[in-house]
Amino acid sequence: MSTIGGTAVRGSDVVAAMPFAAGSRDEVLAQSQRPAEAFTGTDALARALASQAPWIWLLGDRVRPRPDALEQLLDQARPGDERPASLLAGMVLDAAGAAVAPALPAGGGRELADVVRLAGRSLLPIRHAPFANCLVARECFIGEGFPQRSRYGRYAPVEWTARVLRTRDGYFVPASVVVSDGGTGRRDGLTSIPALARMARSGTWTRGETLAAARALAGQVIGGARAPARGPGAAGWRAA
C-alpha cells in the first residue's frame, strides 16, 4: 500500500495528477503509486495515461486529501444497483470545514427519480466538475481526448467533464473529502464570447445550460467589479 499526500492508495489502481504546490501555477505534478516515479511537467496527464492505471485522480492546487478520500471515491465506482461511474467528484472543504462552492461539481444530467433515489444514498448525479477532487476513468481520455485549454481557457475542465458526462455517468461523492489550504483558483466560468459561441456549437450542452452560461458571462461583464469566487482546481490546469 502506498500513499499520495497522506492518502492510502489501494493496489495499483490509481495515478494522481495534481498541480504543483509551489512555484508555477501552470505546472502539474503527477505522482504514481510508487513515489520514486514521481514526475513533473505539462505533459503529466499523458504520462499518467501511459501508466495504464484504470483511474486517474485529478487534484486541485494546494489540497490535502483525507486518508480515506480515494477509497471513498473508488467505493462508488459501482454503487450497488446504480449505473457504474466513469467520473467521480468528491467534496472540497476549506480550513474551517465549509464546502468550497467553485470547487464542487454541478448536479444534474439524470431524471429526477434518479436524483431522489441517489440522494438517499448520499450521492448526486453530476453534469460537470472542476479538477479539484476528481477521479476519472482512463477510457474517458481515450474517448474524449484532453481538456482543450487553448479553446476554453480555465473553463476547459468544466467543458471536458461535461463532454465526458454527456454519454457516461458521474456522481458526486461527498464522503470523499479534500481540504483546501486556501488555493486561489477562479470560478470555472467562461471568460469570452468566442468561448461561449464554441460552447453553443459543440453539442455538449443543452439549450438551458448554454443560456445559463450566457447569463453568467453577462453577469461577469456587467458586474466586473465583483470579486470572482475562489477555489482550488481551476488555476494552473493546462492541457497536456
Binding site: V100, L104, P105, A119, L124
Partner: protein, 296 residues
C-alpha cells in the same frame, strides 16, 4: 434534537385540508392514525363540504380536531387557517397535506429523522418524496433541486438530503419559525401555486430539504401535472403563476425560469385541450386577472 424522549419531543400537528372527498379523507386519516411516530394532533380543515365529511370525522376520528370553515376558501385559505390555528397553539412542526395524500407508517418518522441530520441546524421546510400509485414520482409534486446553491446542495447530499427550492403541500413539514419570519400562505390564491409561493418565499432565505426515505402518495385519478383538461383549475394555475412572478418569492433569474415553465404549461394545455374559443377565453381571463392582480 427531535424525538429523543417523550418529555422533550417536539409536537407535530398534521393539517389536512378537505372538501367533499369524504372517502379519500377517511383513508388519509387512517394513515395518519397508523404513524409509528404518533402525531400529537390531527387538524381537519373542512372547506364547507356538503357530503357528510364533518359527521364522518366526528364519528370515526374523534381524536382529530375539526375546523369547519363557513365557506370554501380553497386550498390556500384552508392551509392559511389551519396553519394559523396550529401555530397559535404552539406546535413546533406543521405537517401539511391535502385529503388525497396517503402516507406510509414511517413517513413522519423519516421526516423528523431528516430534521435531525440536516446540516446547519433544523431546517424550516422538509418534504417527502411524493409518488403516484404506480410508485413513480408524481409530476405535480416533482422536487425542484436547488442546483445553483452548490455548497449547500453538497452538504445536504452528504447528509442524505436533497436541497429543494420549493415544495407542494403534500406531506410537507413547516417549522413554526417559518411562520414567525415569513407569514402564512396567501388566501387570495384560492387554489394552486399557493404552496409553491409560500415555500419559495420561505426558502429564498433558508434551506429546505426533500427527505428521500420519507414517502407519501398523492392519490389522484391520474398522474397529471398542471396542464389537464380541468377548465377552471387551469385558470388558477395561470393566474397564480403570474401573481407569483409579480411577487418577491422568486429571484430575478428564477422568475425567468418560471416564466418559461408557465409558457410550456400553456402550450401543453392548448395541445391537450385544443386551440378553441373556450381555451382562449380561459387563458385570456387568467392572464388578465394575473397581470391586474385580481383575485376572488
Amino acid at each position: 434534537m427531535v424525538g429523543i424522549a417523550d418529555g422533550e419531543r417536539e409536537r407535530v400537528c398534521a393539517v389536512v385540508v378537505t372538501r367533499d372527498r369524504r372517502e379519500l379523507l377517511h383513508e388519509c386519516l387512517l394513515a395518519l392514525r397508523a404513524q409509528e411516530r404518533p402525531v400529537e394532533q390531527v387538524l381537519v380543515v373542512d372547506n364547507a363540504s356538503s357530503d357528510g365529511t364533518a359527521g364522518m370525522v366526528r364519528s370515526s376520528f374523534p381524536e382529530a380536531r375539526l375546523l369547519s370553515l363557513g365557506e370554501n376558501l380553497g386550498g390556500a385559505g384552508g392551509f392559511h387557517r389551519g396553519m394559523a390555528w396550529a401555530h397559535a397553539r404552539g406546535y413546533e412542526w406543521l405537517w401539511l397535506m391535502d385529503d388525497d395524500t396517503l402516507v406510509r407508517q414511517d413517513t413522519l418518522a423519516a421526516l423528523l429523522a431528516g430534521a435531525d441530520r440536516a446540516p446547519g441546524g433544523v431546517p424550516l421546510v422538509l418534504t417527502s418524496q411524493v409518488r403516484w400509485k404506480d410508485e413513480s414520482l408524481h409530476p405535480m409534486n416533482a422536487p425542484v433541486p436547488r442546483w445553483r446553491a452548490r455548497a449547500r446542495l453538497a452538504e445536504g447530499i452528504a447528509a442524505g438530503l436533497l436541497l429543494v427550492r420549493y415544495a407542494t403541500f403534500v406531506s410537507t413539514m413547516v417549522r413554526r419559525e417559518a411562520i414567525d419570519r415569513f407569514g402564512l400562505p396567501l388566501v387570495h390564491y384560492f387554489l394552486w401555486s399557493d404552496d409553491v409561493e409560500f415555500t419559495a418565499r420561505v426558502l429564498r432565505h433558508a434551506p429546505g430539504y426533500l427527505v428521500p426515505e420519507s414517502v407519501a402518495y398523492h392519490w389522484t385519478a391520474a398522474p397529471h401535472a398542471a396542464a389537464t383538461p380541468s377548465g377552471d383549475r387551469f385558470y388558477y394555475h395561470v393566474r397564480n403563476s403570474l401573481l407569483l412572478l409579480r411577487g418577491s418569492s422568486l429571484s430575478p433569474i428564477e422568475r425567468q425560469d418560471y416564466a418559461r415553465y408557465l409558457a410550456r404549461s400553456i402550450r401543453q394545455y392548448l395541445h391537450v385541450n385544443g386551440c378553441n374559443r373556450s381555451s382562449a377565453l380561459l387563458l385570456s381571463r387568467a392572464i388578465r386577472d394575473g397581470l391586474r392582480g385580481e383575485t376572488r
